[in-house]
Amino acid sequence: MTDIITVKNLVEVYSDGTKAVDDITFNVEEGEFFGFLGPNGAGKSTTIKILTTLLKKTSGTVSIGGFDVDKQAPEIRKIIGVQSQETSIDGDLTGRENITLQGHYHQMDSGDIKKRVNELIALVGLEAAADRRARNYSGGMKKRLDLATSLVHKPKMLFLDEPTTGLDPQSRSTIWSYLEKLNKEEEITIFLTTQYLEEADKLCKRLSIIDVGKIVASGSPVELKREIGADSIRISLENCQRDNNKAKELIRTLTGVNEIIDSEECITVYAKNAGLLIADIVRALDSTDIRIGSVIFSSPSLDDVFMKHTGKRIRSEELVKAPSAMWGGARR
């Protein structure tokens, strides 16, 4: 597989001295679904802006589809589609007009545009609303239209800057299914940034975790989580106060247990292959008069990975920008 994105020692220092991107190096293979996971202000948007020719880098090298981002920006613009964090569609135009105009910006042939627009409207399921003004679309519909506009010229590669931030769970999973379809069926390479753990986990074949401008870990979600080493079993007891110590003693004798700590539920057990251990634990406790309330098994999450590398949790800020606030005020 050939690399479609190669980034080496990329640095971006803003004019006020802030180091938004601090020496990052990564590559994305053709056809890959790659992601940047990190909290707000980690440098995700800055990186996307540099990669999509919108922002000049301070130093380092970036090549997209074999083109140098400084010297061959016009070539890059022909092969990429970009969806920015803001839903940047023209509310005065209809959905169809928005996509058509974007086709003209790509200097496509009018006949080709017409065909492609119909395809895209069907792809994102906006048939019924295509000839209504986009201003009146719901937040999810606007995002879908925005996605369609960035696909009009059949880009080889799609950049998505937090494509589902501010959306309700249902709209989010709709967008997810479109993205997976695009990646699999149209073989579009996708580079996505997100602050949502589930999003990165579900969509990305490979991802980099980014914090304060640096990549702190890279790999597939499975690999990254495997690094954490241990699954967890959270056990609640009917009478936690009375049975806590006794239960811990019993569990400690079982083979494969790494660590036992007191937790919210009552006890949390960390173990390498915790799935296998559940039966042993239940059996051990059942032989006494300890009554189990519930047993919850969980594999490590990307949040645990982030925690391990940065000492912090990612707090996805569910800052829902009301659509009206995005368009209101200054729209002349």
């Binding site: 940047s88 569609i89 023209d90 005065d92 995005m326 005020g329 200054a330 729209r331 002349r332």
Partner: protein, 263 residues
């Protein structure tokens, strides 16, 4: 030619937006029309005082040139808001990740501004004519169709020069409030410190002096000449020169700001 076709699509986009937001069109026409009706009613008697207005000229005829000028001002100053809106919504950025011709982004906007000024000028002239008929003093453009076209040209050219100010301001401040505030602050003094609505001889000495340095004075005088006197090239050509000079300055500022936004 991608520049031309890109410009055309962007021009059509802005016109579509304008037509679909009639309230904007209404407000930008509202003020000039209000002035047209109000001033000509209030000051209609001026023509009965000898020596104030040129002989045989009704105030309506006199003021029409000033009103269309004011209209050109108003439309031009909205231009900056459109660019602020496109920056805020991320739309401009979305254009910039496509191969769309960069100059076309500005040219399309300016073309739509010019088109708008021409249409609004036509509306005002039509209304002026109707008002003249109603008062039994019909007001024609003496230079005829060619003269009207030259008036359109002068005002569109003037509008472009002024769009440059609001575009540069919009890109610099990224705030439509600022564009409106500064726009308002410069429009009215420039309009009233010129022979736009009152004959120069009617104005105090210092205003007469100031008006000599006011580009608006030259444009109003040229437009008025085309409406009332005929092809007075000695006033028309200098006016175009002055507009050209203003345009050169404001467009340089716009280009400078645009380059900063684009790169």
């Amino acid at each position: 030619m991608t520049l031309l076709s890109d410009t055309r699509y962007i021009f059509i986009r802005y016109l579509t937006k304008l037509v679909r937001t009639p309230i904007l069109l209404f407000f930008s026409l509202f003020q000039p029309i209000l002035f047209l009706v109000l001033f000509t009613q209030l000051l209609g008697k001026l023509s009965s005082f000898p020596g104030v207005l040129p002989t045989g000229v009704a105030y309506l005829e006199f003021a029409a040139a000033g009103i269309v000028m004011q209209n050109a001002f108003g439309s031009a100053l909205q231009s900056g808001n459109s660019i602020v809106a496109d920056i805020d919504s991320g739309y401009l950025q979305k254009m910039l990740v496509t191969p769309v011709s960069r100059p076309a982004i500005l040219l399309g906007r300016l073309a739509s501004d010019a088109f708008r000024v021409v249409v609004q000028t036509a509306i005002i002239l039509g209304l002026g004519y109707a008002l003249g008929v109603a008062e039994n003093k019909p007001f024609y453009v003496t230079t005829g169709v060619v003269g009207i076209l030259l008036i359109f040209f002068t005002l569109a050219f003037f509008g472009l020069a002024w769009s440059g100010i609001s575009l540069a301001l919009g890109m610099k401040t990224r705030s439509s409030e600022t564009v409106f505030a500064i726009g308002g602050v410069i429009t009215f003094p420039l309009l009233f410190l010129s022979p736009a609505l009152f004959p120069l001889s009617f104005l105090p000495g210092w205003v007469q002096t100031v008006s000599m340095f006011n580009p608006v004075s030259y444009c109003v005088t040229a437009t008025r000449a085309l409406m009332i006197n005929g092809y007075q090239w000695s006033t028309i050509l200098p006016a175009w020169g002055v507009i050209g000079l203003v345009a050169l300055i404001t467009m340089s500022a716009t280009l400078y700001q645009f380059r900063k936004v684009v790169s």
